[in-house]
Amino acid sequence: MKLDFSLPCITPQMTDAVVHSLLVAEGQQLAVGHALMELTVDLSAVFVHDCPPISYYRVASRETVWLRNLSITQGDKAVVGQLLARFTTTPDEPANGDSARQLRVTIAGVMRQESQLW
């Protein structure tokens, strides 16, 4: 079964996100709970804000899947709904064609110690 992961609307006001880090590689098998990527959501793009509402999220798979294709690279900005990756539930089935549904994921807000301050 083919599953897509498109950038979800994590907060109602967001229109896009930056892929801060990619934690998977094409061809990789992902167990349930495997982290996919970390996203930076900056709502300053939506409304001018003196104290920018920037938050970070980690996305993890809730299914056992194989990553067949990545449509983005680290540092890219994606808009809500943009296709980011294609997965399949078996390693050798054809990866092209329409997907059955979206990959089920877990999303959590995270902190970034290493990038704090500058």
Partner: protein
């Protein structure tokens, strides 16, 4: 219907002449006023009488942004005197009128027999300490860029003083929609002063505040010299943003908000006051603070502010400071130390706002994707740990928790606190009411009420 003139009433300061600007109206002529609604303001100033010219000048740091507000003591229809306001600079600068208690700037139309009390003005005062004297904005009520802004009720001699030291989440709670503390002054007790320090120059983490308390003038001079040497010794040319950031940082670093004394002018005359209660925020306690390598003092600035400063600031921070990672236990110790230090200085009450610890934007079904200590990675776990730490802190001390987490959850976090920090007006009103309730219960305003709370939110204490 009876029309009653509203004279200014008495306002004097021994040894000084009180001057004022023209009146600036906040409501139109014919406005139906609530009792206690601030409808006008003017700028005021104190001129020493010749025999007193050597005396200390009250409000010497705030004299350019010193204002008085006017609120009718009873409800009625306002009738503005046509000559009370001439507009322009005449309503902004205090040099053009002397305060004369019989001057009538408006009248109030009230119903016959509406009240036995003769309508009069209830005075309030605002004072702003500019971040730099250059930051001038006299366009409105307490407008401008202030390191410190405060407001106090003007009818009683010695108001209780509450000091707000937090990040932007406290701006709206204390300064309100008007940005001039009107919500607090209109709903709070009759004898109240509120002082708000901005976090633009320095984030008021407990460790930072404690170090400010301990520093003397010589230490502050050394800090200034060190920053100057850092800039001048660098190969980078500081940009205007660098200089402005550095100026604001030095302004904040070389003061101690917890030891400041405030001049007060009320209908009873001139007096001074010190803070009796301080309100902090757990949001002011970052996971990392900076510690100066040479002098050992701690400092914290918002990351986005550092990023908006120039390269010279970033180089100074990188070369002069170490990063210190702090656990919730570290923060607890910092808060306890601060509590002890301010208690020795007569500040009897310390409140800390906790953090919203859940997020409607998450759908965590497993913590397997997160390695290491969850509190170091997942922001809602960190918030929960900090909130639990505050409970431990409250059990060990007399520090009170303002349960912003529970109040926001009750009202609905998605609607009223969508990013966990910036509140809706409704949430700010509730947090303001909660803070006043806690302070009332602790006796800051005299006898605590038996059970009285203007908040509609269930009490979770």
């Amino acid at each position: 219907m009876v029309t009653v003139d509203l004279p200014l009433g008495p306002l004097s300061a021994s040894g000084f002449t009180v001057q004022r600007s023209g009146i600036r109206w906040r409501v139109p002529d014919g406005h139906r006023c609530r009792a206690g609604e601030v409808v006008a303001f003017c700028n005021i100033g104190l001129s020493a009488v010749p025999s007193q010219r050597q005396a200390r000048r009250p409000f010497h740091e705030e004299f350019r942004d010193l204002q008085v507000t006017f609120a009718p003591t009873v409800a009625g229809t306002l009738r503005r005197h046509p000559d009370a306001s001439l507009g322009g600079f005449l309503d902004q600068l205090h040099n053009y009128h002397f305060w004369n208690e019989t001057d009538v700037v408006a009248a109030l139309e009230v119903e016959d027999g509406q009240t036995s009390e003769r309508p009069a003005w209830r005075l309030g005062f605002n004072a702003g300490l500019r971040m730099t004297d250059l930051a001038e904005d006299r366009s409105g009520l307490l407008t401008g860029w202030h390191l410190r802004a405060r407001a106090w009720q003007g009818e009683l001699a010695q108001p209780a003083t509450v000091l707000s030291l937090g990040i932007c989440e406290q701006d709206g709670i204390f300064r309100g929609e008007s940005n001039a503390f009107l919500d607090l002054m209109e709903t709070g007790p009759d004898a109240l002063q509120v002082v708000h320090h901005t976090d633009r120059g320095l984030v008021p983490a407990a460790a930072v505040l404690s170090d400010q308390l301990r520093r003397n003038a010589a230490a502050n001079t050394a800090i200034s010299a060190d920053l100057a040497q850092g800039f001048l010794g660098s190969s980078l040319t500081p940009t205007p943003e660098d200089w402005i950031f550095a100026g604001c940082a030095l302004t904040a670093l070389t003061r101690s908000p917890l030891t400041e004394e405030y001049d007060l002018l009320t209908r009873q005359g001139l007096t001074t006051a010190k803070p009796q209660a301080v309100v902090l925020s757990i949001h002011s306690e970052p996971a990392m603070v900076l510690r100066h390598r040479k002098f050992g003092y701690r400092a914290a600035w918002h990351r986005f502010r550092i990023q908006m400063a120039g390269p010279a600031v970033r180089e100074w921070l990188q070369t002069s400071f170490d990063r210190v990672i702090r656990t919730p236990e570290d923060i607890l110790q910092d808060l306890l130390s601060l509590r002890q230090a301010i208690a020795e200085r007569g500040i009897d009450h310390m409140l800390v706002l906790n953090a919203m610890s859940s997020s409607g934007h998450e759908n965590i079904v497993s913590y397997a994707p997160f390695s290491g200590a969850l509190g170091d990675v997942v922001s809602t776990i960190r918030a929960k740990e900090l909130n639990l730490m505050l409970h431990d802190l409250a059990a060990k001390s007399d520090i009170a928790i303002v349960d912003a987490d529970a109040i926001a959850a009750y009202l609905g976090g998605a609607a009223h606190l969508p990013d966990g920090v910036h509140q809706s007006r409704r949430l700010q009103d509730e947090l303001r009411a909660e803070i006043l309730h806690i302070l009332k219960q602790r006796g800051l305003f005299g006898q605590p009420d038996a059970v009285q709370n203007t908040s509609a939110v269930p009490q979770f204490r």
